[in-house]
């Protein structure tokens, strides 16, 4: 499993988490700064289940997804009633609380040592798990967004009052998007655990939560393609910058990219459009006409 394939596996794993967060923060408009905590839950559950019950990895992943969704809904139930800014700080609190619990419960999670030596991916096995799962996640999420439930989530982001009057149970759909995002983050966490062969609290700090939501904003709120492309750019970015000599400028460049994109392209890379061949064809036609016109005069 070479270096670039390793980066590819990581990109896929974080793409799954970013797609999950884009459902909650992009489509549903509820910003979260604690979803790395749900990745941690997915990772620890999957590792512990696979290690203690000696079941195949995908059973562990399912268990991780389930518990992460359950906890997401449990925590979401009360906090989803409060308005946006309180919700952001509440999720920050949740992320930190999960980080502290994973440090403190040494018998369960191995605390600062981390949880290790469980059955994990060997060599190329990671790719055979991660890429198919990613494809399924993209297809299912795309269908979900284009279905009535996806439309309802976008409706409550656009105008909660109007959504109520067309009969949308706003609270229920906020819970659905919270559950959906926690499921995908749990799944991504599980995959990361088996790829890294160990789980450590330091892998799920608040900076990771911020990176997830920043990717969604840069990619474009309410666009699945935007989330995918943001993941494809932002995850390998630290690796690409590794080739540059100025290492210490890496984090400053990362912060600068965020500021510049928000200032000059607030709707993010892809706004809320989805990539399509027809869209591409129209774009090419428009540009070619402009070129021809310039050619004539």
């Amino acid at each position: 499993m070479t270096y670039w394939l390793g980066v590819l596996v990581q990109t896929c794993i974080y793409m799954i988490a970013i797609i999950g967060v884009s459902i909650l923060s992009g489509f549903c408009g509820l910003f979260t700064l604690g979803h790395a905590g749900f990745m941690a839950i997915g990772a620890y559950t999957s590792a512990i289940v696979v290690n203690t019950f000696d079941v195949p990895i995908f059973v562990g992943l399912l268990a991780g997804m389930l518990l992460s969704t359950l906890l997401g809904l449990l925590i979401g139930a009360p906090t989803l009633r409060i308005n946006g800014d309180y919700f952001i700080i509440a999720t920050m609190g949740i992320g930190e609380a999960i980080y502290l619990l994973s440090q403190y419960l040494i018998p369960v999670t191995g605390g600062p040592y981390g949880y290790m030596d469980f059955h994990s991916f060997r060599g190329m096995e990671a790719l055979f798990y991660v890429v198919p799962i990613l494809i399924v996640v993209i297809v299912v999420t795309y269908f979900f967004i284009k279905s009535k439930h996806g439309r309802n989530i976008v409706a409550l982001r656009e105008n909660e009052m109007a959504a109520l009057t067309v009969g949308i149970n706003v609270y229920r759909y906020k819970m659905i998007s919270m559950g959906y995002s926690c499921a995908l983050c749990g799944l991504a966490g599980g995959l990361l655990a088996h790829y890294m062969t160990n789980v450590n609290p330091a892998m799920f700090t608040s900076t990771k939560s911020n990176d997830l939501v920043i990717a969604v904003v840069l990619g474009g709120r309410g666009s699945l393609t935007g989330a995918i492309i943001a993941a494809m750019i932002l995850t390998p970015l630290p690796e690409l910058l590794r080739f540059s000599s100025a290492q210490e400028w890496r984090l400053i460049m990362y912060g600068l990219t965020i500021v510049l994109v928000i200032l000059f392209r607030p709707t993010g890379l892809y706004g809320d459009r989805e990539f399509s061949i027809s869209g591409l064809a129209k774009w090419i036609k428009r540009h070619s006409q402009r070129l021809m016109k310039r050619g004539e005069n």
Binding site: V140, S147, K148, T165, V166, G167, G222
Partner: protein, 257 residues
């Protein structure tokens, strides 16, 4: 005597000391176009908020046909067949006009999240049916060319009409229109009146309209109620309202002798 579609029985609402609505009694008959008029701040929109459950009345009951909906949550109100538009337009701006209407159909579309994710035949059937319904109404009001335009980018008049169409899409029995003619000139108000009358006939609805465009109300309303400072001045036909002294005083103001 035709049945009562929407009934408000001694409904009161007070914010602290202020009595926004004081003992309102209105009975809207089925398939009637009923007007509620009054000067600004008379408590008209508060009435709509009471009916649609956005705010709960201090006392009194609200019924639709025979069902008591006094303290029903806003998203349940749509289930009992009441749809509404807003004084300041509340469309799903970033989403296309067709999607706005499709969202409104969500109540009549029946498939689970799982069907949606796996695109089962049931999903395709329901979506196609809803899409056809929306395309039909768009065509009827020749807004089809705006089908894929983001709702927020439409001209003001068209946005008003899309909001009304969105209300219709929830298969309501009673439609509440909150100042539909606000900001419209003579000619637009006329086409709007025409549209409301045609909708009422086409979908045999009961319509309640709030406005202070007297010409719109006079033209399309069968009966109306005049409200001033939360008090119910009179109820009757538009002609009675024009000749009623109390209404004239309220509107033209009484020169205190």
């Amino acid at each position: 005597m035709s049945t009562v579609a929407l009934g408000l029985y001694n409904v009161c609402k007070s914010f602290g000391g202020l009595k926004a609505s004081n003992n309102i009694n209105i009975e809207v008959l089925e398939h009637e176009i009923y007007g509620i008029i009054g000067p600004n701040g008379a408590g008209k929109t508060t009435l709509f908020n009471l009916i649609t459950g956005v705010i709960a009345p201090t006392s009194g009951t609200i019924r639709i046909y025979d069902k008591d909906i006094t303290n029903l949550a806003p998203d349940k109100i749509c289930g009992v067949g009441i749809a509404r538009t807003f004084q300041n337009i509340r469309l799903f701006n970033a989403v296309s006009v067709l999607e706005n209407l499709m969202i409104a159909c969500q109540q009549t579309i029946h498939y689970s999240a799982l069907d949606g994710c796996l695109r089962t035949p049931r999903f395709r059937r329901e979506e196609k049916a809803a899409q056809e319904k929306c395309m039909a109404i768009l065509e009827k009001f020749n807004l089809l060319q705006y089908k894929d335009v983001a709702a927020g980018k439409l001209p003001y008049g068209s946005q008003r009409r899309v909001e009304i169409m969105r209300a219709i899409m929830t298969n309501p029995r009673v439609v509440l229109l909150d100042e539909p003619a606000a900001g419209m000139n003579e000619e637009e108000t006329a086409t709007l009146a025409e549209m409301i009358r045609m909708l009422q006939k086409e979908y045999n609805l009961t319509i309640v309209v709030i406005d202070h465009h007297m010409d719109l109300i006079m033209e399309i309303c069968d009966r109306l109620t005049v409200i001033n400072f939360g008090e119910q001045l009179m109820t009757g036909t538009p002609e009675q309202a024009q000749s009623d002294q109390k209404v004239i005083d309220a509107y033209l103001g009484v020169d205190d002798e």
